[in-house]
Assembly symmetry: C2
Homo-oligomer: 394 residues x 2
């Protein structure tokens, strides 16, 4: 039986038109875009066409402000470590938020061991950073602020344009991790006013292992990968041209279908939110429904463990996630959920449900039935649930 | 007319069986290998199968000593920067050779700006490092030696096992950049005695933008990309699974066809060496024909510019390179050729001819005719050549 993927934050299907473009590129047998002969020039043309498509998707001023890389993680590491090191003569202070992705958190942790100071600002209960908190945190030593565009566990959006205004008024470099936003929402780097922005192709139905970094012209940042002169000397290494060609086509499709997708995906999400009370009780919605990605809902179901729900839903052929796929293997409660005020116990029962364009309303209906069955049977064996019920009836 | 690719050091075709595996992976629509549900497990299985194939190709003791990355450049940056930073408490001295790839040279240059000291040893006129020179260069502060397995411009092999013995007897970490060797020659990391070894899938007819690093168990090295727990916590970021699956199949094919390929490719190279004097004169062979890759020949043709030869051969439908594709855009003479004793003028006239399995003897014959035509017409307009001839006839 076909698995129904409600875990699109971990992986999106590759769009059929993207698949075809990648397969054509495989069969074409492109040469190296850095080679000087005609075969190299053809490859370079394909590379630059993809760059132009991504630049259009995020409204970059020039296509060469877009640098391709091996994904969101590389781009975030590049932005944070590269800006810190290139601007160490100006200061050693970096500001992030408490709910950033581990790529940000671990990059700044590494920099801390190398003499940088880091301030991590909290978010309010709705999961959002207050731009005033950023303004207060900036010092004369601040060289970089990095705040994510949308959170990968809750789907909550941050007020990036407002934060950018604060940061740029102090002449500090601003990076936003927009890995889960680019291609899902209209993103305009010029309107946002950011200096750097990370993206991943799989976020908009392109292949995994491809992504990149928008670097506003004139931004001081060291390369993370050094060697050849690829990507305008900003990222060395022979390009993953097949993946990049797919990324270009995915970017075109995202731009073309943006409004249609938002409407369809938020329709599925709104249906789930509206119908959920008819199936289960005692849950917390972690997503800020006023400011959020269209396709994602984070729900903490009380008295049970998210991991058990994931495994039992898997038996019912539904793929969902209990949190970021990147945190697999770690048993600690999500730092994101604790930051928005959840207790450890409630955080354990979290499900991240992320829809994709191939999902349907009928699947949501079937999911709700399966979820009710799973939650009921898990609560029946949950000592926490029984204690909660005893307390309520006492 | 189909371009005849004699520039396989810049780009190899993707083998038909690798193409088919990648296309099947695209159509399969793998999920994220880090996800906990069945769909994630299937992806993880495909990932680990590829890892096992690469581990077998280089005879790694355990498959988890192989870390996938976005190519040779990332792996080299990871090895050099990661070892330097993880072992900075022990010392700050690094040894490389004068003929390393720019990925090595620029990585150590970056480390120099961060307080590390670098010794770069020379090679002899045959293009080889003397292990005694490494022994002499090692100090109590030395934490890393990085010497390439084969040179990407000349094809000359280094005495890696001998150098490793010297380095390991002093308890220093040893990395070899084997990007142009893995898959072309038998490589056995255990027999070589290296701690780290970089490879690239396109070197053995896999896709570009995929490669990796062998890290011997217990080697102290920091990750370059940090974030999620992928690749056993050594390299974060969602994997380029389509490219990695292709890499696994390419590794299997390389292991299976190794001897056949070596025989065929060295046959083409030996034919070129043997027939060349019948077509042009006044040239220097830069490749050490006793210790070399099977498929590559570097020839410096006197009195002309390699770049003009590349462009004119391109008009005749032959793709060759004048040097590393990574150095495009730079007009300086190759540091590799100057290091092996060439004059600036002779270095300018260099052609790197690298054969692939799809090339034929008939193509070599046609190439020689074209080369003669090109060299003759360029020399006819070369003031250097006319002066050389006048001097000879004087």
């Amino acid at each position: 039986m076909k698995v129904i993927n409600f875990d699109h934050i971990s992986s999106n299907q590759i769009l059929p038109e993207v698949q075809e473009a990648m397969i054509a590129a495989i069969r074409e047998g492109y040469h190296n875009p850095s080679s000087q002969h005609t075969a190299g020039e053809k490859a370079l043309e394909a590379l630059e066409q993809a760059r132009t498509a991504v630049a259009a998707l995020i409204n970059a001023g020039e296509s060469k402000e877009v640098i391709f890389a091996s994904g969101g993680t590389e781009s975030v590491n590049h932005a944070i470590k590269g800006v810190a090191q290139a601007n160490a003569d100006k200061g050693n202070h970096i500001i992030i938020s408490n709910i950033e992705h581990n790529a940000v958190i671990r990059s700044v942790k590494r920099l801390k061991s190398q003499g940088f100071n880091v301030t991590s600002v909290s978010v309010d209960e709705s999961g959002r950073v207050n731009p005033d908190d950023i303004a207060k945190a900036i010092t004369d030593k601040t060289i970089l602020v990095s705040i994510m565009h949308s959170n990968n566990e809750t789907g909550t959006l941050q007020p990036i344009a407002e934060i950018a205004r604060v940061v740029k008024s102090r002449n500090v470099i601003f990076h936003t991790d927009a890995v889960d936003s680019v291609g899902m929402l209209p993103i305009d780097v010029q309107a946002l006013g950011v200096d750097l922005l990370s993206f991943a192709a799989n976020g908009f139905y392109g292949p995994t292992g491809v992504g990149g970094l928008y670097i506003r012209r004139g931004t001081r940042v060291w390369p993370l990968l050094e060697g050849g002169v690829q990507e305008h000397n900003k990222r060395a290494g022979t390009e993953n041209l097949i993946g990049i060609i797919g990324t270009g086509v995915a970017a075109q499709a995202a731009r073309r279908d943006m409004q249609k997708r938002i409407q369809y995906l938020s329709g599925l999400r709104n249906k789930l939110v509206a119908d959920l009370p008819g199936y289960i009780d005692d849950y917390i919605i972690n997503t800020n429904l006023e400011h959020c990605l269209p396709h994602l809902l984070s729900v903490s179901v009380k008295y049970i463990e998210g991991e058990s729900v994931v495994l039992m839903l898997d038996d019912e052929n539904f793929a969902v996630s209990t949190r970021s796929a990147c945190a697999t293997g770690s048993l600690r409660a999500s730092h994101v959920l604790l930051s928005i005020g959840l207790s450890h116990a409630d955080a354990q029962g979290t499900l991240v449900i992320a829809f994709g364009v191939e999902n349907s309303e009928a699947e949501v209906d079937r999911f709700l039935v399966a979820l009710k069955r799973v939650v009921t049977s898990l609560r029946n064996i949950s000592p926490l649930y029984q204690r909660g019920n005893l307390a309520a009836s006492a």
